[in-house]
C-alpha cells in the first residue's frame, strides 16, 4: 500500500484552514450518485440482506439489522447531516478536537441505524465507517 496518508492529512489541514473558525464548519452530505455513497450503500446492502453464515456474522459484528434493500437509503437531509457530522466527529477524533468541515456519506438502515463515512478521514490506510443508533449513539466502526 503506497502511503498517501500525508496527502490527505495535508488536505484536511487545508480544509480546516479555509473553513475556520471552528464554529463555521459545515457538513456536506453527498447524494446517492456519489461514488463513495455507492460503495458504502452497496456494502451495507450486502451486509443487511445477506443470508449466508458469513453475512450473519458480519451483521452481528457491525451491529446492523437484517432488512430488505429497500430499507437502506442514502440520506442528504440537512438536519440528519448535521447530527451525523457531529456524531461522526466525536467518534473518530479524541475528545475536545475542534470540529472541521466534512463531506459525509450517510446511510440509513431501517429505522434504527445510520452508517456514516467521511471519505477524507483515515486511520492508517483505512477509512472509518461508523455505525450509530437512531439517537446518534456510537455503536461500532468498521474499517478496511
Amino acid at each position: 500500500m503506497l502511503n498517501v496518508s500525508r496527502y490527505f492529512f495535508s488536505l484536511n489541514l487545508l480544509m480546516a484552514a479555509v473553513s475556520s473558525p471552528a464554529w463555521a464548519q459545515t457538513y456536506t452530505c453527498v447524494p446517492s450518485t456519489d461514488e463513495n455513497a455507492q460503495v458504502l450503500y452497496n456494502a451495507v446492502v450486502s451486509i443487511v440482506t445477506g443470508t449466508d453464515s458469513q453475512a450473519v456474522l458480519t451483521r452481528s459484528a457491525y451491529q446492523l439489522p437484517a432488512v430488505a434493500a429497500s430499507k437502506v437509503s442514502v440520506v442528504t437531509t440537512a438536519s440528519v447531516c448535521k447530527n451525523a457530522g457531529d456524531a461522526y466527529h466525536a467518534a473518530v477524533t479524541p475528545p475536545g478536537t475542534p470540529p472541521i468541515s466534512r463531506t459525509l456519506v450517510v446511510i440509513k438502515v431501517g429505522t434504527t441505524r445510520f452508517v456514516v463515512l467521511d471519505p477524507n478521514e483515515r486511520t492508517g490506510e483505512f477509512r472509518n465507517n461508523i455505525v450509530f443508533d437512531s439517537r446518534w449513539t456510537f455503536l461500532i466502526g468498521f474499517t478496511g
Partner: protein, 372 residues
C-alpha cells in the same frame, strides 16, 4: 527431400525451394523419410503441445497475438505467399509468453546455417539466443534440402519479443537423385510458428487456485514471509502490515523482496517506487494482520473508538490499496488471517472492487489443503 516432393510442398505452401527443371518429376527417395511426412509429424507435435495447454500462432485461438515485421517468413525468390523477403524478422507478442518453441517449416539447405532466434524479456533485455536445429537429420538425404527446423527456448520467464535470423545460403544446388548427376538452383523459403504457454505454468504442487501468480511458489513464499514478518500472532499493537513485490529476475526466475519501514503500523505500510524494485515487477503483496471481523480497540493505529476489520466493502483491500495499486497496472494481493485476496491488474475501482476480487481461503474448506 526429392524434387517431386519439393513441387508438392510448393503446392501446399509449406516449402518453396524452387529448383530449375521442376517439370521433370523425380522418383521418390525410398531411403529417407519424406518432408511431407515430417511436416505431418510436426503438425501432430504441435497439436499434442496444444492439447497440454500450449497455444500456437499463427492459427491457434490464443489470448495472445503477435506482429511480425516485416512478415513472418523468409523467401529468397519465386515465393508463393508474398514477395521475396530476406530481412531480419522481429516478432512482438501482445503480452508475455512462456516456454516458447519456435518451429520453422519450408525448405532450406542442410549444409548451410539454419538461422537462429534471439528472445527478449519485458525490459527488452536479451535473455536467450539459440541457433535453430534440424527437426530431422534424415530429411536431408541426397538432395541436401530439409523442410523443418526449430528450437525449444530454455528461458523460464516471460518473453515479449524475438528476432529471427534466416537460414543461409539463400540459394544452392538441388540435385537429382543418383545415378543422375544433374543439379539445378534452388531457393530458401521458410516461415515460422510459435508454440507457448499464455500463462506461467504453476510451480506449486497442490492447493492450486487457478490464479497465475498465486500458483507460483515464489508468490506464496512472498506472502508467507510477509505474514511471518507481520507478527500476526502477537498482540495487535505489535503487529506490522508488511509489503513486498514479486518480480522476475534476469534469469527468468521469480523472486520477491520485502520492504519494512519505521513508519509501518498494524494498519499501514509503504512500498518503494516500482523503479526501485529489482528485476521486472509482477505484483505487490501485503498483509492485513487481522482476521475478518476482528475488533481493533483503541489506541491501536490511532483509533479513538473500536473498529471491526472489514473485508466486505472492498473485498479485503482498503480504498487506498485500490487507488494506489491501480496506477501500476499490476495485479495485487492481500493476505489476512483467513484469506488471500487477489485483484486483477486492470479495471478495479472503488465501486467494483468487491466484485472484482477473487478470495482464496488460506485453508481450502472443501479439500482441506493449505495454501498459506
Amino acid at each position: 527431400m526429392s524434387r517431386g516432393r519439393l513441387e508438392h510442398l510448393i503446392r501446399v505452401c509449406t516449402v518453396v525451394v524452387v529448383a530449375a527443371g521442376c517439370a521433370d518429376p523425380l522418383p521418390p527417395n525410398a531411403m529417407a523419410p519424406d518432408s511431407a511426412a515430417i511436416r505431418a509429424l510436426n503438425v501432430k507435435r504441435v497439436a499434442a503441445a496444444t492439447s497440454d495447454g500450449r497455444c500456437t500462432l499463427p492459427g491457434g485461438t490464443c489470448g495472445v497475438t503477435f506482429t511480425a515485421t516485416p512478415a513472418n517468413y523468409y523467401c529468397a525468390t519465386n515465393c508463393i505467399n508474398g514477395p521475396a523477403q530476406t530481412s531480419l524478422i522481429t516478432v512482438v507478442f501482445s503480452k508475455p509468453i512462456y516456454q516458447l518453441i519456435v518451429i520453422g517449416s519450408g525448405g532450406f539447405f542442410c549444409s548451410g546455417d539454419y538461422g537462429g532466434v534471439t528472445v527478449h524479456n519485458a525490459h527488452g533485455d536479451v535473455v536467450e539466443q539459440r541457433g535453430f536445429t534440424l527437426t530431422s537429420q534424415d530429411d536431408c538425404g541426397w538432395d541436401n534440402v530439409s523442410c523443418c527446423l526449430g528450437d525449444t527456448l530454455q528461458f523460464p520467464g516471460g518473453i515479449t519479443s524475438l528476432e529471427i535470423t534466416p537460414p543461409q545460403p539463400w540459394t544452392g544446388d538441388v540435385c537429382y537423385p543418383p545415378p543422375s548427376d544433374t543439379c539445378n538452383p534452388g531457393y530458401v523459403s521458410i516461415w515460422y510458428s510459435y508454440s507457448f504457454y499464455e500463462k506461467r505454468p504453476p510451480t506449486v504442487s497442490d492447493c492450486l487456485t487457478g490464479d497465475e501468480l498465486l500458483d507460483q511458489q515464489a508468490m506464496r513464499d512472498l506472502l508467507r514471509t510477509a505474514w511471518d514478518s507481520s507478527h500476526a500472532s502477537d498482540v495487535p499493537a505489535s503487529r506490522r502490515e508488511t509489503n513486498g513485490y514479486l518480480f522476475e529476475d534476469s534469469t527468468g526466475a521469480l523472486n520477491f523482496s520485502l520492504y519494512q519501514y519505521p513508519t509501518d503500523t498494524p494498519c499501514n505500510s509503504s512500498l518503494p517506487a516500482l523503479s526501485n524494485v529489482p528485476g521486472i515487477p509482477l505484483a505487490p503483496g501485503h498483509t492485513h494482520p487481522f482476521a475478518p471481523r476482528d475488533t481493533l480497540f483503541p489506541p491501536l493505529c490511532g483509533f479513538t473508538t473500536p473498529r471491526v476489520y472489514d473485508t466486505v466493502t472492498y473485498g479485503g483491500a482498503s480504498d487506498l490499496d485500490i487507488t494506489a495499486m491501480g496506477g501500476d497496472m499490476l495485479p495485487f494481493y492481500i493476505l489476512d488471517k483467513n484469506n488471500i485476496y487477489a485483484y486483477p491488474a486492470i479495471g478495479v475501482t472503488l465501486v467494483n472492487a468487491h466484485s472484482m476480487v477473487r478470495t482464496y481461503p488460506r485453508v481450502d474448506p472443501s479439500t482441506g489443503c493449505t495454501r498459506l
